[in-house]
């Protein structure tokens, strides 16, 4: 049976949910080992060991790993890949940054953003913004894959009995350093794990109007807030709100698209929602071709009314 090494996404305090989908994908390939690379992250390693189905947790603790700089963590992963057959990372911005660096060092073709595991070395993945699904088979001795979180159920975060094993640090490569971050703090659910999402588009006019219109409905529903690329480009909301081919891929139970026309790049990010609701005053907007429930109406009257009646 082959051995997989799963990248644990974390903030040095807690395991992020995206890890759990990657564990489910990895379990289809073989034995699941985890890698926690961080700084002062012992609690993360202990929590990771509780994930159902996990064997060993490799734990490397070094200031050089605090911000998961690819230059520093890639050599560590390459060393551990000496005795693993597959490296599996969630397709988060961290996973997408690190995995190809590992793949190239291993001289392996990476398979990005897998949707399913079809065989030992065969996977499906989206191409052309999800307008086509390719089934690909690797001929490399080792595998490097990133996992689309919405395509795999989350492994149970508890109930496992993994063993934490300390790994020596490979140190700081001296090529890069972390300067700072602007990470939005929000009481709202995270986009990629939310059950309900309310998303706004260019029709929201400006950031004040976006907030005044979208947020009350989102608050009422306990929903996460998303946006189309047009709304982000126009500066209504920050970049991390973007849903779409190059933004976040989401699959909530209910996705409410408000004033979003439905460009293919946006649809690529949300068409796996269980129920899509569209509110748009243009009855020919492409969003209605994928929406389960559509309301042709001016959002500036319909949204306050909807919020009031819920």
């Amino acid at each position: 049976m082959s051995k997989t090494l799963v990248w644990v996404e974390h903030d040095n305090a807690a395991v992020k949910d995206a890890t759990l989908s990657a564990v489910t994908a990895a379990a289809k390939l073989g034995e699941v080992h985890l890698l926690v690379a961080g700084s002062g992250a012992r609690a993360v390693a202990d929590a990771a060991a509780q994930i159902a189905g996990v064997g060993k947790v490799h734990f490397a603790d070094d200031a050089a790993f605090e911000h998961a700089l690819a230059e520093n963590v890639a050599p560590l992963i390459v060393e551990l890949m000496g005795h693993h057959d597959a490296f599996v990372a969630p397709a988060t911005t961290t996973g997408k940054n690190v995995a190809p660096r590992v793949a190239a060092l291993l001289d392996v073709a990476q398979i990005s953003d897998i949707l399913s595991v079809e065989g030992e070395k065969t996977f499906t993945r989206p191409i052309y913004a999800g307008n086509a699904i390719a089934t690909v088979e690797s001929s490399d001795a080792k595998l490097v894959v990133t996992v689309r979180g919405t395509a795999f159920a989350k492994a149970e975060a508890t109930g496992g009995s993994g063993v934490v094993e300390d790994v020596a640090s490979t140190g700081d490569a001296g090529l890069s350093s972390f300067v700072g971050a602007e990470i939005a703090k929000s009481e709202r659910p995270e986009l990629t794990s939310a059950k309900i999402i309310v998303s706004g588009g260019r029709a929201l006019k400006d950031s004040e109007t976006f907030e005044a219109t979208i947020l009350p409905l989102a608050d009422k529903l306990g929903a996460a807030v998303g946006a189309s690329r047009a709304a982000v480009d126009a500066g209504y909301v920050p970049n991390d709100y973007q849903v779409g081919q190059t933004g976040k891929i989401v699959a909530p139970d209910v996705y409410i698209a408000v004033g979003i026309s439905g460009a293919i790049q946006h649809l690529a990010g949300m068409k796996d929602a269980k129920t899509i609701i569209a509110i748009n005053k243009d009855e020919d907007a492409p969003i209605f071709q994928v929406a389960d429930i559509g309301l042709v109406a001016d959002l500036f009257t319909a949204l306050p009314e909807l919020t009031g009646k819920l």
């Binding site: 890069s176 982000v232 609701i277």
Partner: protein, 248 residues
């Protein structure tokens, strides 16, 4: 310093791709092709660095068919100084592209290589990171801001939670995200001038790179199709539907 900008010829951003009936791929016959949008942003960023006197020369590179010359001419018309086409009719995977680029980096010794973060055809998002690995250089991926100062570059990256800034020692590799800049259109005089700029044609073998694919595409299929549902008459009807769903 020199800046290298690899560009890819892909299906135009506004064209909806159609899967071939025999399931072997996407039909590109008679389809409008353009420069990958993220690569346009990369070209623009290189030009802005040159305009700010942070760079002297911009070299555009493409790995692809002879038609990729058009894409290189677009880069030259925008403001790149010269171009290299590594010509092949084969589909070249990101790892092999990265190996070819590594060889060119060895010859040209650029201070920066700026690439699009992903191509909108295969959506791999790999080449920049792989090039960084093979050359042993630092990588600033998904950049929304690039600030060259002395012997380092500060790159602000679009990450899942917001923005993150890293400082990289030069030479370095940068990949672009959407909001780094808004690419310019080439003016007609510049399009004419671009026709006279140097464009060298090479082959993967010139760089000693084996481009044999590591992945075999067994099948390409349409994704499950969503069908349009119902339109409701008013907000009251929508509220009723939301209650049915258990949302309200």
């Amino acid at each position: 310093m020199k800046i290298l900008v690899p560009v890819k010829r892909v299906i135009d951003y506004n064209v909806k791709p159609r899967v071939k009936a025999d399931g072997t791929g996407v039909d590109l016959a008679n389809v409008k092709m353009s420069m990958n949008p993220f690569d346009e942003i990369a070209v623009e960023e290189a030009i802005r660095l040159k305009e700010a006197s942070k760079a002297e020369e911009i070299i555009a590179i493409s790995v692809g068919t002879t038609k990729a010359q058009e894409t290189l001419r677009t880069a030259l018309a925008m403001g790149a100084d010269r171009a290299i086409l590594v010509e092949t009719d084969a589909e070249v995977e990101p790892l092999a592209v990265a190996k070819i680029l590594k060889a060119i980096v060895g010859e040209e010794n650029p201070g920066l290589v700026i690439l699009g973060k992903q191509a909108i055809d295969d959506d791999s998002n790999q080449t920049g990171q792989m090039l960084a690995a093979l050359t042993g250089r630092p990588q600033g991926t998904f950049a929304s801001k690039v600030d060259v100062a002395g012997d380092s570059v500060a790159v602000t990256r679009e990450v899942d939670g917001g923005l993150e800034t890293v400082k990289l020692a030069l030479p370095a590799i940068v990949t672009t995200d959407l909001r780094l800049n808004e690419p310019r259109y080439a003016s007609l005089p510049n399009i004419m001038k671009a026709k006279k700029k140097q464009l060298d044609v090479k082959s993967p073998a010139d760089y000693g790179v084996d481009i044999a694919p590591r992945l075999k595409t067994l099948k390409v299929a349409e994704p499950p199709v969503r069908v349009a549902g119902v339109k409701v008459a008013d907000v009251d009807a929508l509220v009723a539907k939301l209650k049915e769903l258990g949302v309200a």
